[in-house]
Amino acid sequence: MMRDAIRGRIRQLRALFRKPSVERDMTDEFEFHIRMQTEQYVREGLSREEARRRAMVAFGGMDRYKEGVRDSRWTRVIEDIASDVRYAARGLRRNPGFTIVAVLTIAIGIGATTAVSSMLNSILLRPLPAVSQPERLFDVSESRSGMSSDMLGYRAVEWLRYEKYATATAQVWSGLAARRYVGFSLATESGAVAINGSLTSRNYFDVLGVRPALGRFYSEGDDFPVVLGYALWSSRFGSDPGVIGTTIRLDSRPFTVIGVAPPDFIGLTVGIRSDLWAPMPDYWAGGASGTPDWVAVVGRLRSGVELPEASAIVQAAAVNIEPEQTWTTVRGATLAPVTGIPVMARTGFNAFLGMLFATAALVLLIAAGNVAGMLLARSAARGREIAIRLAIGVGRRRLVRQLLVESTVLFLIGGVGGILLAFWLTGVLTRSIPALPATVAVDVSPDLRVLAAALVAAAITGIVFGLAPALRSARADVMDALKRGGGRIGTRSRGRSAFVAAQFAMAVLLVVTGGLFVRSLRAALDTDVGFDPGGVVAATINLRPHGYEGDRIAAFWSNLLERVRAVPGVENVGLADWGLMFGPTNGSDVQSSEPGWTEQNRTNARFNSVDPGWLDLMRVPIIAGRAFAVSDNESSPAVILVNETLASRLWPDLDPIGRTIRFNARDWEVVGLTRNGKYSTIGEQPTAMLFFPWAQWRSSDATLHVRSGLGAGRLIEQLRVELAAIDPDIGLENAAPASAMVGLSLFPQRFAAWLIGGFGLAGLILAMIGVYGVLAFDVERNTREFGIRGALGARTMQLVGAVVLHGVLVAAAGTAVGLLLAAGATRFAGTFLYSVAPLDPLTFGVAAALMLAVAAVAAIVPARRASAIQPIEALRTD
């Protein structure tokens, strides 16, 4: 029975593809019917002609029945839509100007939203594709008083403390793992290469549930195993499967390659790529000096354990486990879901992406509004055609559907254009990410899911924004339209003006936001960073994993500095514990050690340790006192430099020179005062900074700074050569021009300014097209009025003025509303702005002036058209 029904439907579906023969069948069938009826009448005694005529009359219009038969087929809808699509395509081809502008407008809207959605998708929605059940993974995020150690946005704990956590909270986790990002030096035939990777606990991959692309991950009994990242495996090992089991030399020690990670696993932070993983206990057992390091902790909840229960147990453990540093107290620990975005960056990040999405959506809204306006004008212009179609019996529903199909087709074509635009835009954005002190690998280009969403969004927008124009057209009064010649179908200019005013309001919001971000970038670019990065190359060298200790460290640095100074073209060389703009993230409380100053004058300061050459080379301004000298060495009195912020916090309104600070069981005398600078990011608050002389505060890792007349590339090559001559196992990490580091810290501002500023510009242009559209339409519609006014002696300027005034008034109304909206909305952008107030009067003023100017310019063409109308032409149009 079911089979019969299916067969019936299939037959009709087939009929869809051989329509001509189906139509012929119908004609044959009805012909036959009439013939039979005619025979019947003839038998009843009528003449043949009369019988035929009556049979025809009795049957009625054959086409009406055909339509009835067609209607009773379920495939009818498909047939109709197919014919609507053909009709729409014909209409769009016939009017290329309209079609191109509309498609471009939609493409801008869809392109902007698709690009941003694509970023959201790859950053927020599919951040960790290789990790199984990431929703069961949680970061343990500890908070302490007195100090904190942050690791690329994660709270870190000491390795020993991690081990204690693992024991104390074992009932909660199916596994608790630890990891930290580190730079490795991989020895190659041509010297060592720096590689960004991670040290992890042995259970790391098991806890994450990642499967190796090749070989296996750590297991018991491995000695010094290492897992290669997929990218490193293909770039440096030629994707050779034979690499498994071979030995590589890493940080002066041999490691065995046991596996290759899958291509879609780069670590737990979106975009920050680890190229290599090694187990932390082995790494430290291999002879690297120092105690195991700070790590970020991540765990997988045991099945059956829910978050509130787990949080309580972890919180209790955090307070109970003795801290490794007795001078800090642990306030507690929270569990944060693992999302690919570092815990501490998450709120800001989500807010930023949310803001991007909102602005992109505004662009789409304005674009769609524009197209709706264009469709309305177009259907008005086609009033006579529509009226005729209504008159010959096309149903209004059918007509609405047909118009909807037209707008949907338009939006889909625009949607495809938008997708192309989005690919281009995400490509530009990805390329604009500057070199980080970590390997950046983020693919924000749209995937199939985003593309499907973009097309669906285009289709829905097409239907939503096509509906109003379609309904209006279909409501047209046939007689009226035919009489008047099709100028007036369902169009009231006032409604359209309100529409354009609304577009202006949204555009103002975009222009103001974009303007604020552009101003913010300008302010950041103009910021005095407190040093001069021009012509300086920086590179970090880390001796610690290579077993250097005591005197060997000092000897290494002086040897290196000497060699680099001897390189032809090098002007100046300096050494600092921390490179600028990736500056110290660790700090501590310091206090004045003079009598009467203790306790009440404490402040948190960051430290750096620099040699005399560095201060000179970076052109750090010394406001009072002196800079470090070569004579400040291990045996001379302990001295420091402080910056203005630190001085004013410890000794407000007093001369800091000659005062002392107690730190690390020593009194340090302030010998110089430096101007405030920017130490980690351009946007940071004034930071208290303290400089130690390198000779009195040496460290096993330092950043070499070199000013030279050589290009950065050649200099870095030469530095590699000099380094390899001293120790071929040590790689040069993050070698880059210092200006690139400043550029990196400007990246958020630059990114926001370009993208949101771009959206603002798009909004401006679209609003301009919108006001042009409504005025041009108005002038066209009122041709007769303008012609008569012209004939009655109105001056050209009067006519032009009237049209321009209309445009500017509409724009002014929209702009006023938009400014109010912007005043409410920009405060959400406030946290991302640098030294620009969210209500910056200049930005608001310029935006308003710009909008009005744009409206006036857009009005000029229609205005000139209005003034050029000849009276005779006006009479002819109707």
Partner: protein, 114 residues
């Protein structure tokens, strides 16, 4: 409506047309025109099937799978579409007939009650 011979007839009620078609075709396969003739004849000319509803109805029934159709040639070598009943059509006829009878009985009992 009047036939050429002047008799008064009633148009077939919309809902019952399909039932009548099924009933007619349960006797033997036939083409559209003979279906109208047969209905007229069986109802002693009391019922007249409008062509405007016949063919769409046939289409609907075919879509439900209750009818099948084949093209045949007449003696004059004309193509003619002949409708025949399917097995599910036969079952449907049974059901529809029962429900129609139930309906008529219900209406009748109300009319008779006054």
């Amino acid at each position: 409506m009047r036939t050429p011979t002047g008799q008064a007839t009633t148009d077939v009620l919309r809902g019952t047309l399909e039932l009548l078609i099924l009933r007619t075709l349960s006797l033997e396969p036939m083409h559209g025109w003979s279906i109208t003739q047969r209905i007229q004849q069986l109802s002693s000319d009391a019922l007249q099937v409008g062509q405007g509803s016949l063919y769409p109805a046939l289409q609907r029934l075919e879509q439900k799978g209750w009818l099948g159709s084949d093209w045949e040639l007449t003696e004059q070598n004309r193509r003619v579409r002949v409708y025949r009943m399917t097995r599910s059509g036969r079952a449907a006829l049974k059901e529809e007939t029962a429900s129609w009878r139930g309906y008529v009985a219900a209406v009748e009992s109300i009319l008779g009650a006054t």
